[in-house]
Amino acid sequence: MASKKNATDVDIQHIIGWILRVGVISSMLIVFIGGCLYLYRHGHEQVHYTDFVGVPGFVHSASGIINGILTWRGRAIIQAGIILLIATPVIRIIFSAVGFVLEKDWLYTGITLLVLAIILASALTGNAG
């Protein structure tokens, strides 16, 4: 029966809520800053989203994004913010796992790690298939 909510359960819920909020707010700030830079530099160019050609090379790899951030390229900064946003629920899962370990709930520690493994598998096989 899971009808009892003990102290750790409530603490973990608070931490999870906090992680989600901080993740969303900080990633949106980064996206906003990158967006301003992007508009300042490229605002008057023509758009081309009708045909699918993927994304520019410099936002398609980790090294490209890091280089882009160092040279203040708006789209690289936006993409970094988006990656942080995508990572937010994943970080949440890691903290859930820690919470279940503290509660000695091994069944749910396993379930949580399984979900994490599925997302990692998805990330690693993203280019295949």
């Binding site: 809520g17 989600l20 996206v31 490229h42 989203y49 993927g54 946003l85 995508i86 749910y108 399984l114």
Partner: protein, 278 residues
């Protein structure tokens, strides 16, 4: 059209999409994809990528508030995330291989279905029956109501799990939260109280979307220039919507108007899909 003009139009449109999505409980993704593809002629792959990012933002933002209230059943969410993440991964892979016109038609069908689901009367059911599997996986729980804490049981775990896997596939394929399908799985099949179903669904949407977003990211579906106004607009719109919801009861007429608009957009998507214009 210049980048600046497109950004401003998308920002305004996304704000409205986020606002309506939050007021009706449909989510912003279902409005933003037709807006981008039908009105602005954006390729559906870019539209889906941008929508998926906004889904993560709104889901995580509102889940933060719900988790604190203690309505969300975190164990149930974790357990069902096994199904949704596997489904989402499969859906994202599938999206790489099927024609965009087929994606557009599937999107239209799910859109109409979701709109009519949102019109349903919501009766708060309390099921006290507890299945053996729910007991095993510690899914039965309690949640706070105006009358104090209420215990509830969970049944039909297998059926709910299968429906969740399907919801995951749709989310990965179409770049939406597929909250309507998740709620059907929990509220309809597993007989969980409606309030718990919606908040737990919301809690799961971010993780489900992350599982397909990692695939989209590598495939170049998530364009920063387009995703930026979409994610900022939808999130701000959803925030405004949640503020309005606190102050007023969500009205039925708003849902009806929205269902009509959505049905119109959906039929446009299906029509363009059939004629291979998308």
């Amino acid at each position: 059209m210049t980048v600046l003009v497109l950004t401003l139009i998308v920002l305004a449109g996304s704000y409205v999409a986020g606002l309506i999505g939050s007021l009706t409980g449909l989510g912003g993704g279902v409005v933003i994809i037709p807006l981008l593809t039908l009105l602005l002629n954006v390729n559906i792959h870019y539209a889906i990528g941008a929508s998926l990012v906004s889904v993560i933002a709104t889901s995580s933002g509102s889940a933060a508030a719900y988790v604190k209230e203690g309505i969300t059943n975190i164990r149930l969410g974790m357990f069902l995330e096994i199904a949704t993440t596997i489904g989402a991964m499969a859906g994202a892979m599938l999206a790489l291989h099927i024609q965009t016109s087929v994606i557009a038609i599937a999107f239209g069908v799910i859109l109409i279905f979701s709109a009519f689901m949102s019109l349903r009367k919501k009766n708060e059911q309390i099921n006290t029956q507890k299945s053996e599997w729910a007991e095993k996986f510690k899914l039965n729980s309690q949640y706070p109501t105006a009358q104090g804490k209420v215990d509830y049981g969970v049944v039909n775990i297998g059926g709910g799990f299968a429906m969740m896997a399907f919801a995951g596939v749709i989310s990965g394929l179409l770049g939406i939260g597929s909250g309507a399908l998740k709620v059907i799985a929990m509220d309809g099949i597993m007989r969980i109280p409606f309030k718990v179903s919606t908040t737990t669904s919301n809690f799961m949407i971010g993780v489900t979307a992350a599982a397909s977003a990692v695939v989209y990211l590598q495939r170049g579906y998530i364009d920063p220039g387009l995703s930026m106004p979409v994610v900022l607009g939808v999130l701000l719109g959803a925030l405004t919507g949640s503020k309005i919801l606190v102050h007023s009861q969500s009205s039925q007429w708003l849902r009806w108007i929205f269902a009509v608009i959505v049905t119109f957009l959906a039929s446009q998507m299906i029509y363009n899909g059939i004629n291979h214009k998308i």
